[in-house]
Symmetry: C2
Subunit: 305 residues, 2 copies
DNA sequence: CTGAAAGCGCTTACAG
DNA sequence: CTGAAAGCGCTTACAG
């Protein structure tokens, strides 16, 4: 075939608008160039950061991402896993998988890369996990708070958490020489209600001058502190977790945080999968060093009695 | 075939773990049961709300969603459109398409449902658009601010916006009897820098007691107001746009807003596509009535001189 | 009613 | 080097 001919064919293809059918090609090559992502829920902007990172690297490797959301429904989660298998995704990323081991069996049997993210339940303990351990960084924060004179730390969160952050906080805070206390908040509580609840908690515990809280409880916390006539950081120092790039611009001065680069986490998750597709499965748990302590004006010396 | 046999076959299939290959089935049926979603960027949590709504309805109809992100790169956007075509998505949702008309041609020719979201550039004016018009609601807000004694409204935003909100604000605000002024912010500006910039703007314009600002500029705005020793709502009333469910919990008291139910928008976008797949294309622009005025303590009577 | 064949749109090994 | 055939895993129209 002459060079000129090949050129003319190419030209004709462009003119006629021929575009190869990727599905047909992939059927022939028995792959789909598709990576499944199943979210257990979509309740924090951090998931968009993650998706952005994933999407960027997957794109670069020619993969497309099939996202879905179980919306906190375990049965739905299982169904989504089955669907992902029917679609023969080349790899599956699972946000906090819980009680889905049976549905994952076809993937495991077929040797399809299947990676748990953020956390996983007991039954899925043989499914490789990628996480960003925050214990060390929480330790840095706790030490700093102790240095600033704080002696009692309050951790605010909902009850269930597969990533089990309370244990990390409790351990790190005790080690630093502060008393750890926990306040459990009902999941999905309204901000106004949370404000009242935290007002009582704070009023009853003036010694808890260091506070760790998650993004979704920040509004209620600020409201409570305000309502009590207290202020940040004069009366209470506040630290938050994995703040999203997308919400950072909402608070000024910005909060001190156990920061996690979630976008980068997304990129590295795909890297792991990519290597796995190349034949090397990851270890049972891959700890990504993506957490860092970010100190801002929301943290200061503990008030003197 | 006896009923018992059919039952035994079904059983055997389950035991052996047989799951039909959806790709092969879809090739035969020349469809993919896949809907493409291309984001021009992923810079607000609102996009996760939208994705959640889309995902829920698409799921219900048996469709999967292929998301991608052009990350503000026009060439990348065009490439993603080509990729979506190669994958033969059954329908394509485009967040603010701009200068991609040529790449959309194969979809248009093939009669594949292709829907623009939020806004579209001039060249894409024949691609049906779904939006949530906010003019009326901005009018309600403006009237309310006038009623509260405000006479000058400041609108803060970046320069480019396909949805062109400034025109709506300008028109509505003037109609209500307030002077509209605009302050253009550099895209991607840091919160601290924005705080300084807005401090100067506000100091120079004490009469602008009503302020309209987007989520990403709120931190800087709060900082500026604080820095000037002013407060909300005593000195300035603040209104924001399409606040995300995901960030609502971050601010207390909550902000007044031109609220848009973005999750529902996602659901209805899929409904439109679903009807289109059934044979009825939508009108050139579908205006969804999903905006509402939410008044909170961030808005109050204008200060008396 | 049952079973084999054709075909969806590709790629690749193979014969000419 | 070129061209026709086989096959990826399904569904459906068709012959027996």
């Amino acid at each position: 075939m002459s060079e000129g001919l090949s050129e003319r064919v190419r030209e004709a293809a462009t003119t006629l608008g021929y575009r190869a059918n990727a599905g047909a090609r992939n059927l022939r090559l028995s792959r789909t160039m598709t990576i499944g992502l199943i979210y257990e829920r979509m309740d924090t902007p951090v998931y968009l950061d993650f998706l952005e990172g994933m999407s960027a690297t997957a794109d670069r490797h020619g993969y497309s991402i099939l996202v879905s959301n179980a919306a906190s429904d375990p049965a739905h989660y299982r169904q989504l896993v089955r669907r992902a298998y029917e679609r023969r995704v080349d790899a599956l990323l699972l946000s906090t998988p819980r009680d889905v081991r049976a549905e994952l069996e076809p993937f495991v049997t077929a040797g399809v890369p299947t990676l748990a993210l953020f956390g996983r339940s007991q039954d899925c303990s043989d499914i490789p996990l990628a996480t960003v351990p925050q214990g060390r960084t929480i330790g840095v924060a706790a030490d700093r708070l102790h240095e600033l004179g704080h002696r009692r730390a309050l951790y605010i969160s909902t009850a269930t958490s597969l990533s089990d952050r309370w244990r990390s906080v409790e351990a790190a805070v005790s080690r630093a020489g502060l008393d750890p206390v926990r306040h459990i908040v009902e999941s999905g509580i309204a901000t106004a209600e949370l404000r009242e609840e935290l007002s009582r908690v704070l009023a009853a515990d003036p010694a808890a001058t260091a506070i760790f809280a998650h993004g979704r409880h920040l509004g209620g916390l600020f409201g409570a502190i305000n309502q009590l006539g207290e202020s940040i950081p004069d009366d209470r120092s506040v630290v938050t977790f994995t703040d999203s790039r997308l919400t950072a611009g909402l608070i000024d001065p910005p909060l001190s945080s156990i920061h996690v680069d979630t976008r980068e986490f997304g990129e590295q998750a795909i890297d792991i999968v990519e290597v796995w597709l190349g034949g090397s499965p990851p270890r049972n748990v891959t700890a990504l060093d993506l957490a860092s302590w970010r100190e801002t004006e929301s943290v200061a010396a503990a008030p003197t009695r």
